[in-house]
């Protein structure tokens, strides 16, 4: 998993005593070069991607500069482009998704890895992997036909009735909007969190559990205080993966978010995300400034993902220094 930090011992010194040619003949060196090239291609693709996005968005970068991030009018007819509502929508929907999916996903993973009988755990894992492979348009349809009507008729009126004093739950209930998009995203990312977290929890060495139990800990205490902290790094990894998917999800979001560039404190309000507007408007974008503004949105999404991933990594470093967990997978 690319998102977990693992230090691989360098292969160099171990084979250092033999000559380059003999290593070449035995295949070690060839394997090393080839795998290095594969690893380097990841960096190369990233660099090329940024370069292309940067080059392709020259016009709006010069014309709007920093205002691109600050203004909220998106008008292809009068050539005014501001990304703020899209950035806002992307962040809000991803946040809602993670707030819902993280406790659910990790809870389920703990049950499957620690508490459930192995047979139940393996059977459920099969279904979870199946869910992770469902195309996002299917989740979108599920959203449109089931979640949106449910939201409009039951959930939103109920939230309004109980928590309506909060600015989060105000305004007309259309069914579509930030909250619905966040819920659909949560459903989509939960399988990732469960699947990866379960694997990580299962790989925690047996003696860790036994040591805790022998000290008189209950089963839950050993799970919650020993196993989960031990696996923390990997669990964070699963959350990054979920975050990345939530930020970049296109099809399912555009089907339930309402596709209206608005910034509103209410989660009931229709909104728009970066990925959704690119998918919606790219094919019919005529005019260079319009097209390049969409490309700049792609660059913004890239930067956003980069920053959030960086912050999350810092969070791991900070927590693993404070706590005792060795956060390795």
């Amino acid at each position: 998993m690319a998102t977990t930090t693992t230090t691989v011992p360098s292969a160099g010194p171990v084979v250092g005593s033999r000559s380059f040619l003999s290593r070449l003949r035995e295949g070690d060196e060839i394997a090393r070069i080839i795998t290095f090239l594969f690893a380097a291609s990841v960096v190369l693709i990233t660099v090329l991607l940024v370069f292309e996005l940067w080059r392709g968005s020259a016009l709006p970068r010069h014309k709007f500069g920093f205002n691109f991030f600050r203004t909220s009018v998106w008008d292809p007819i009068f050539d005014q482009f501001g990304a703020l509502p899209f950035i806002y929508g992307t962040l809000v929907t991803a946040a809602v998704a993670l707030i819902l999916a993280v406790p659910l996903g990790i809870g389920a993973a703990i049950f499957l890895a620690e508490l459930a009988p192995a047979r139940v755990s393996d059977t459920l894992e099969f279904f979870i992997d199946l869910l992770a492979a469902v195309p996002s348009v299917i989740y979108g349809l599920l959203g449109v036909f089931i979640i949106v009507p449910l939201m409009r008729s039951y959930i939103q009126p109920a939230l309004k009735g109980t928590l309506g004093f909060l600015p989060l739950f105000k305004g007309p209930a259309y069914g579509v909007g930030f909250l619905t998009a966040g819920i659909v995203l949560a459903i989509m990312v939960i399988p990732y969190i469960i699947s990866v977290s379960r694997e990580v929890l299962l790989s925690v060495p047996r003696d860790q559990r036994e040591a805790a139990l022998s000290l008189g800990a209950t089963r839950w205490e050993s799970t919650w205080k020993v196993v989960v902290p031990f696996a923390r790094g990997g669990i964070f990894g699963s959350i990054f993966l979920a975050l990345a998917r939530a930020l970049g999800e296109t099809m399912a979001v555009t089907m339930v978010i309402g596709n209206t560039p608005t910034i509103s404190a209410s989660l009931f309000s229709p909104g728009y995300s970066i990925a959704a507007v690119i998918a919606n408007e790219f094919t019919e974008a005529t005019g260079d400034l319009y097209l390049q503004s969409l490309i700049e949105l792609g660059l913004v999404l890239f930067i956003l993902t980069f920053i959030l991933n960086g912050l999350a990594r810092l969070l791991i470093v900070a927590t693993s220094q404070r706590g005792g967990g060795m956060g390795n997978t």
């Binding site: 009018v73 998106w74 008008d75 292809p76 007819i77 009068f78 005014q80 449109v144 036909f145 949106v148 009507p149 409009r152 007309p172 259309y174 069914g175 579509v176 555009t254 089907m255 309402g258 596709n259 209206t260 229709p270 728009y272 959704a276 998918a279 919606n280 408007e281 790219f282 094919t283 019919e284 974008a285 005529t286």
Partner: protein
């Protein structure tokens, strides 16, 4: 491993031979709205002329204009005519112009979902523009209720639904709104996507239709073919002669016939709000974009042959797919214009 590699080489070589031996291949790209029609036409034409194969990628009108301008395809297709800047860009790059050929007609219909109301509503120009500008917000507004005497319209808020993806359907709708409302023209304008004053966005005709179906008191627009094929109810629209017209293939063709008298030679004409007693006002052509000069005579002749066939026999295939066909006047004019392709 070696055997697989060997087989791969043989297969590739065979594919190469077949490729080199294949028929004259013409490529086009553009609008998605007429794609079902075009693919039927290209298929039928290939059956009659097995040596000619036309490949069409429905990547959207914007992409079609871009690709034909860059010369990566032999012809383009668009739901909106190219504007003067785009024509100039083509002329500057190639040294010759590009011609528009109308192929079939499309139309947008107003669709709505008001609980308890099953009759077909009548919409005036002011009602449609008022709703989309966000000035008419209740269903029982006099502008809507006026021409719908006897229908008990509720005092509920109207939920406006529009397309979120760039599309020819939106182009037709906003082109119509720009013609009937100066405020719309100055504030919003026309295009494949615009800065909507109000409303929710649905992706594709199915997205808009789904949102309307799911949302009480909603109002939006969908492509006529989509409405016909999915048996969606839709309203009537008042045309420039003052009659309320229901969109169907005949009333859309009538709009084209009404506009045919004043058809410019380059066919770049909008037929929304067209004159004619039976003309449906929210109609439009969709166009093939054909460069005026070809370097390969074989390609030129093949494409001209296709356009000629499309304008005559090809038009017989349109109604089975729910596209409105071109009026005779326009066909005659196009056949004449075809001579300008050299």
């Amino acid at each position: 491993m070696k055997r697989i590699a060997g087989m791969l080489v043989v297969v590739l070589a065979l594919a190469g031979i077949l490729w080199a031996d294949s028929a004259l291949s013409i490529t086009g790209a553009g609008a998605t709205f007429p794609y079902p029609m075009y693919s039927k036409w290209f298929d039928e034409y290939h059956k009659k002329n097995t040596n000619i194969e036309i490949n069409y990628q429905s990547i959207g009108s914007g992409g079609g204009i871009k690709q034909v301008t860059e010369g990566t395809v032999d012809f383009g297709a668009s739901d909106g005519p190219m504007n003067d800047d785009q024509l100039k860009a083509f002329q500057d790059k190639h040294g010759f112009g590009i011609l528009h050929f109308p192929t079939v007609l499309g139309a947008d219909v107003p669709a709505y979902n008001i609980p308890g109301i099953t009759v077909e509503l009548n919409f005036t120009q002011d009602a449609i523009s008022g709703i989309f500008l966000g000035k008419i917000t209740k269903w029982n507004d006099p502008a809507i209720a006026g021409p719908n005497k006897g229908v008990r319209l509720p005092a509920d808020d109207i939920v406006v639904v529009h397309r979120s993806d760039g599309s020819g359907t939106t182009y037709i709708w906003t082109d119509y709104l720009s013609k009937i409302s100066d405020e719309w023209k100055n504030k919003v304008g026309k295009g494949t996507s615009v800065n909507w004053p109000v409303g929710l966005g649905g992706k594709g005709n199915e997205g808009v239709a789904g949102t309307i179906k799911n949302t009480p008191d909603s109002f939006g627009y969908v492509e006529l073919i989509y409405a016909i094929q999915n048996k969606m109810p839709y309203g009537l629209v008042k045309n420039s002669s003052g009659a309320f017209i229901k969109a169907d293939l005949a009333s859309v063709t009538a709009a084209a016939a009404g506009a045919a008298k004043n058809m410019p030679d380059d066919f770049r004409v909008s037929i929304t709000d067209a004159p004619g007693k039976t003309a449906y006002p929210i109609s439009s052509f969709t166009w093939l974009l054909v460069p005026a000069k070809f370097s390969e005579a074989a390609k030129r002749d093949a494409l001209k042959g296709f356009v000629k066939w499309m304008l005559s026999d090809g038009q017989n295939y349109t109604e089975a797919l729910s596209y409105a066909k071109l009026p005779k006047e326009v066909v005659a004019k196009e056949l004449k214009a075809l001579n300008n392709v050299q």
